[in-house]
Symmetry: D2
Subunit: 387 residues, 4 copies
């Protein structure tokens, strides 16, 4: 695993837990964590259950005893590491967003396509696809229960930037994060929309804005840890992105990604409206989904709150009995299950790097629309050059 | 009262009920209902408690025993009737939207301004302002409980057009309705946003779309009554409008008005996010609002569901004890209370025709933006020419 | 109408509104309100739309121009007035509870049975039966959608007594109110349980308690109006009643009636669990009910929130379009519709006095159980002596 | 760990995860799982991450390399194993209920008291105490935010027995399970009520019932696996228990435990009402609690939904950022943290065996009340004989 921030903790939980809950087709050895700071990396390795730690990712991906590389660094280093790892013949799981730019993402998708030809697999970590309720929602749409999708409403709302004294972390600096609310959480709702509908977002019209334009600087090396600020610095990413998308079928999608929705902590909400029914999901109530069925008698129609904790629901049989709730981290175990299974079976895992690139192109189109008075912009077609 | 459709029933309920529940500063006599079809109008008058019926609105507004005219006809006739009534010295309550075009609305606002100089009052019927929870939400924002408004999220979602066999009613024809979802329900969320924030929507970027483009025609004179269709006709108004607005403070608003949100019957939802707190409202749960207070200790923050049925809440003392729910129609009684009070006290009622014009200008700007690739369009300044 | 307290206002709203919304089989004239205090009664008559006021109910029920008597006085006077009115040949609508004692209720049920033989109708005012969602819930059970009822959970929770300084109102004095939470709100959940299941509560085991045993006295004539207290007096009714009932089928019901559920204003909740499904209702969300259908595939089962505002739902067609909410008071219009229809058609209205007596007998059994260490007590059979 | 059923899986997840998420004061080695069937036990050990498996628990508790024994067998074997383990000087974590009878539980509490004198710790596994929202609810009550507790409402409702063809599992046989809904899930709400209020349930009046009295028999060795039934057998435990308790303060508690609440999967709900506020919890929404604060202005009171996912909340800092949900299993990690910490620090863990005995005595009193026409029964005082 390259990187050991917050995503290092969640990925470690997935690698550590999946083999003890699911029947995996291969054994997992948690070999080594890589980070710049040797002490911090060693601590992380010890805490999270990895056998070793290291500081040079190039050395690690050259090792013969490493089959798979999990990348959880900030987005600006994804392309370099992922491409090198794929070229070294390692299967790669890369945390989302795939990259900070479309160019990087294209290079990664190309590398993944070349690697696939050699039996090497690559997957990008949109783990919310693997919340059982989201997977089941996708299955229900594929089964046709909502009929033709006529509109979609997707939002991801948080509030951790409402306080203007929240310091200028790396996530607020374009050179590290690439993008703000748009790239961080907007990416999730774009991917989820494309995933559940089976369609692509082909054009967008969008607005992005930075509500608090300056924030306290922190001294070098400090995080959110309360170290005294050294003046103020400019926030170079967006705080909020509101955009409209058009799916390949022509249906409209309203998107909203914001870090200023006071009181909303992690409110990813999705509603898909079709001519036969509708499905709705809310990440703050992640064990359930709501299904409206227009084919039942009209005096008893309504949104049914389905508790997605039955053994028949995706991934659930391996866990607990009905009504015993799962949480945020379970998606990371499911990601391990699916990636390891794909590697073992020799099949292409999803979301692929091409799918990650597709999200990146939508993000890029939103930014270009925002720069051009929010005029509609077509999203480039997402076919990797090498295929 | 001119007109006797659905809004005739709700306005009648308001006129009939308000004097028996509230202490009004003037007596109300429900004198006459006007409609084109003499029999239907007489039936409506008898059913709803009006003393007489008539077929010529010009004669009625000329009568000396009429002090106040309530207009509930489709939007294309509002301007002519309202201006004539104001010029005849009658106080005018006009159902929303104020008019079908900005030109008409400007003429009406001018007429209202001239009439006001003579002590004649005019009000437009955005009754949702008078749902106690909405009035209280506005009061709380004015009091400062959410601090500086940083973003707003407003939607009005219905689903009565999901069925493609729903016939081509007048509301789906541009010549009668002026606009579709945008003008009908989008108008409500624009007015409510401006009302609760005390700000204006100064610019917009929007998209409108017609999802089902042809619908069954009905024979002349038929409504939604199931009379056999005579072929198909074109839907000439929008089914869905998604737009972003910028408030006078610079804050962004996401707007969505749709008649294709499967399973959503009357889902007007509003959320105002500020740097000290947030407030949220849902018309399908209209006796309550949700308040998030960032000034409380952070381990006990959350959205508080306030049941707006206490005697201290707006309008409630006249009704029932705490926890005894009010419904949709109560806003129409409150509208009567406020308008009659303004007339009796000689004060200007709200929403004024100028406020109705302001909404109309936003609607117009959305349409122009939609025609121009969704580019941002500034909303014309809403000062009546005559003031 | 005899009496002019809170229930006078709600009943007046029903009498005044029903003819203008529904097509009634008879005309309604709101003739006279009767009360002890001439001025207050005249004020009430004027405010609520009654033609006259009077102070002697005996004179009023002797009048030839009175066909129907609506009794909204405290429970200790119900029996005398209702029996006299029935014997005078007047149809009688009597607010719940039917009486303060089983003896009185038996005499009333006897009088009603004798009157029915002469074509005179009597009904008791359990208006919550006429909330559309409750009526519809009953219809669904009768249709068999929940299968065999296996258990029921019914509660009515309020919090207006939590404040120990709330004064000693008549509702807290046994001589006037007969009972406390048990008789006032417990009566509602007993009636609703019997109504929706079509069964009787045949035995009970219960506990009643008075949490705050002394409260501030008020001077003569004062209500809850904040007049200075004159010392403290004993609360002679219960604050809370928790009891278990056994239905005629053998199924258990858990009942709870309390005025000490802090934060719960008017929380009447009911859940009926059967072997094929379940139905749940909450008066604080009175436009909807929840339906769980065990006959659907188990991966999409869940509680469906049915918005009971469709034209097909009971009483709704006369009101507003789908999604336009009704409130507490609408049940009083529906009561008028049903009673006037029964009178006009010559059919027996429900809930009958015999049904009101049945509730009274359950209340009495709960009190006897509570006095006997909560041992199970059989409810007397509810057949009026004269039938 | 002795036993390897469903609770073996959850306890293993706790042992495996806690050291990697929390900073524990001692290292954990998952040494050996014990079960009767050697193969099944070996499989469980391999799957769940235990180093060895064994079939004789007596041999295992005699081993020098074992410091702590975790008992997850059915209740009928708890006493024998726990007492032997404590006497062998092992710290003991015993899954709830402590035992199947009061006699056994008393012997266990005695053994724990004797062991404590030698520095050996014993804890019983009411893990719901360790859901962060429940722990926080307890803390808030202790802090005084609800004032004096005036009543409590506690229910645990499931529906897995609604289907009459659900076979006669060991949980439905008195000789193995000791009790039905009462002992299995009723135990949880008794413990939680005592835990959060800091009071004891001193007397009860209760009813228990078996709704489906006969169920399909399964051949020896089969579980719920669909093996063909061999006729029908009698259900010897209760399906539903409804009881009223009186706390040491005199306040009443309504309890309901049922396996026949159609559509309710794991609905443990608790509401504590005090003179200053109220707190409510629902296990199906386990990341939040609701707090009603009567000390705020009455026009903005309401239930606040607190998302208990902030770093300040109990146990949460070790997990994920705000709004990232935890699930059912996290309580088992928290249990490990608390027990290991108590052992390392030499303090007495909670819930102690004495607390487990206390629950057992309440359960026993409910059964005796039910056998005696539901008359009130005092709960025996819970002081272990040896202290």
């Amino acid at each position: 695993m390259i990187g050991h921030g917050f995503m290092g903790a969640t990925h470690s939980q997935g690698w550590r837990t999946a083999p003890h809950v699911f029947d995996l087709p291969a054994d997992i050895e948690m070999t080594v964590v890589v980070g710049r700071n040797a002490t911090a990396t060693a601590d992380a390795a010890a805490k999270w259950g990895w056998a070793e730690s290291a500081t040079d990712w190039r050395e690690v991906i050259a090792r013969d005893d490493i089959d798979l590389v999990d990348i959880v660094t900030p987005g600006d280093s994804h392309a370099e590491i992922a491409i090198a790892a794929l070229e070294a013949g390692k299967h790669v799981l890369c945390e989302k967003p795939l990259a900070n730019t479309v160019d990087e993402a294209e290079a990664m998708a190309d590398a993944a396509a070349r690697a696939a030809a050699r039996g090497i697999r690559a997957m990008v970590g949109f783990t919310y696809r693997r919340v059982p309720a989201v997977t089941f929602l996708r299955d229900l749409i594929a089964e046709g229960v909502v009929g033709t999708v006529q509109q979609v409403r997707a939002a991801y709302r948080q509030d951790w930037l409402v306080d203007p004294q929240m310091p200028l972390a790396w996530r607020l600096q374009k050179e590290h994060a690439g993008s703000g609310a748009l790239g961080d959480i907007g990416a999730h709702i774009i991917d989820m929309t494309q995933f559940v509908t089976g369609q692509t977002v082909d054009a967008v019209s969008g607005t992005i804005d930075t509500i608090v334009k300056e924030r306290p600087l922190l001294g070098s090396g400090s995080g959110l840890s309360g170290v005294a600020a050294e003046g103020y610095g400019e926030v170079t990413v967006d705080d909020v992105a509101i955009f409209t998308g058009r799916l390949s079928s022509g249906a409209l999608v309203s998107f909203e990604a914001t870090r200023f929705a006071t009181g909303r902590k992690n409110a990813l909400t999705l509603e898909v409206s079709g001519d036969m029914g509708a499905l709705a999901f809310d990440l703050e109530d992640l064990n359930s989904l709501r299904f409206y069925d227009r084919t039942t008698p009209d005096d008893r129609q309504g949104f049914t709150k389905i508790l997605v904790t039955e053994a028949r629901h995706p991934y659930v049989a391996a866990w607990w009995p009905p009504g015993h709730m799962l949480g945020y981290e379970h998606g990371f175990s499911h990601q391990v299950v699916d990636f390891v299974t794909a590697v073992a079976e020799g099949s292409d895992p999803h979301p692929s790097f091409a799918e990650g690139l597709s999200v990146q192109r939508v993000l890029d189109a939103v930014e270009r629309s925002a720069e051009n008075e929010s005029s509609w912009v077509r999203v480039a077609v997402s076919v990797p050059a090498s295929t």
